[in-house]
Symmetry: C2
DNA sequence: TATTATGAATGATATAAAACAATAATATCT
DNA sequence: AGATATTATTGTTTTATATCATTCATAATA
């Protein structure tokens, strides 16, 4: 579905303040980035990128919410992140094998802005600050992946679920009280457990007074306890 | 222990052909890289980098073998790679928080060459090809981490051990017949299982005629079968 | 409003893999 | 070479977690 142009998104110049990476660029460089740029609105559930297809664009969501996930064996997904506006993605394939290495799909109706990777490459060769910032961006993803590896391989379910709740609260909903717009299945995909286990442990947390739970509505009552659970194995 | 200078390693100019990243550099850029560069020999078991300390250097092994691993909870390690000569490392911290995010220790006596990160940064700003190559290097690590995440979270022990055997054969020993210089404990750290499980499954593979096993000596008899095991969950 | 889908909750059972324990085989040191 | 430490093997038990099965609740649709 095509999006009507609005005065908030006519060109990169007008929305560059939204992403730290773009604020490093000159007008001329922004003009390059803006060339062939397009924006598309996705309905809930639709794929924004599909793992395995050609990676031709660096993408940024300007509105809505999406999930980034690895497609594993037997339709089992591992969710990497929930993506909110101004977070840049496109992944490691952009500079290696020109394939997307994960899928991204819309959790709510989502507008996404597509910037051609050729233009990104042009600018990165013109602007060393931008090149360094991209390298930093890539490195930060590397650090996150290390944390994920340790969390998923060395913590058991309670710790992993605590990690998810803290992530949702701190990084996504910016509140200790939030209304989930993801399913138990998806909570399981974030913490590598079945939906049944996710349900069960949420209930346990409620019984232990750590959270207040009303299906989709979650209230973190004891954040220190969650942090302690997160630290245990 | 300091290493005597030899005619094979007086400066980066003389060993630049060893690493694809260095072949992109001009003499002047190599001279910058070579400034304050030093080489140290580590004994078996010694730390080359220690997770959590300041990351000040990009490092390359010129001789020997080392292991790169994440230190997790309760002294439980997760080995990321075995490092052999000319593989560059230093990790995601070099461009983010200036901390090493993993440890590297010598499996055999190992010589390592330390290049100041300030010099790397200087050169990356001078040479867009090098900048792009570093970004590619970082991205490739990202791809490997995705594969690792899926392998460790979605495969069970037989599949994970098959992955390790194939990795050792293809990437490290370059033969289907090799003499391990790592312990069962370390095989466990590569595949996220206990040393007892590693022993047991190696034995099972032997009984199934997939490998020939004599403690440290391993012979892959049925590589297709290992690949098939690797694909299953 | 009745009727399907879809998601959530809960219980019973099965199983992969860790933890524990003990012995056997190597390697290292004196 | 003998003594000690490290590593490998093997068996038994325990536990975390998946799987299966069913009911309940909520949302979408006719």
């Amino acid at each position: 579905m095509l999006k009507r142009r609005t005065d908030t998104c006519i060109s990169c110049e007008t929305c560059n303040e939204r992403s730290p990476l773009f604020s490093l660029l000159s007008s001329e460089e922004l003009r390059i980035m803006n060339t062939n740029r397009f924006e598309v609105v996705f309905n809930t559930g639709e794929n924004i990128v599909k793992q395995g297809t050609s990676s031709t664009h660096m993408i940024m969501i300007t509105n809505g919410m999406a999930k980034m996930y690895l497609e594993g064996f037997d339709k089992k997904n591992l969710m990497l992140e929930i993506i909110t506006p101004w977070k840049l993605f496109g992944g490691p394939g952009l500079f290696t094998d020109y394939r997307y290495h994960y899928s991204v799909s819309a959790i709510t109706e989502t507008s996404a802005c597509f910037i051609s990777i050729d233009n990104v490459r042009k600018v990165l060769r013109l602007n060393p600050d931008f090149a360094e910032a991209l390298l930093k961006h890539c490195s930060q993803n590397g650090v996150s992946n290390f944390q994920r590896l340790i969390s998923l391989t060395q913590k058991q379910m309670h710790g992993r679920l605590a990690d998810v709740l803290l992530y949702l609260s701190e990084k996504i909903y910016h509140s200790e009280h939030f209304n989930l717009n993801i399913t138990r299945q998806e909570i399981g995909e974030m913490s590598n457990m079945t939906k049944e286990s996710a349900t069960r442990i949420l209930k346990e947390f409620e019984l232990a007074g750590i959270i207040k739970l009303d299906t989709k509505e979650i209230n973190l009552l004891d954040v220190p306890k969650l942090k302690q659970l997160s630290l245990h194995g």
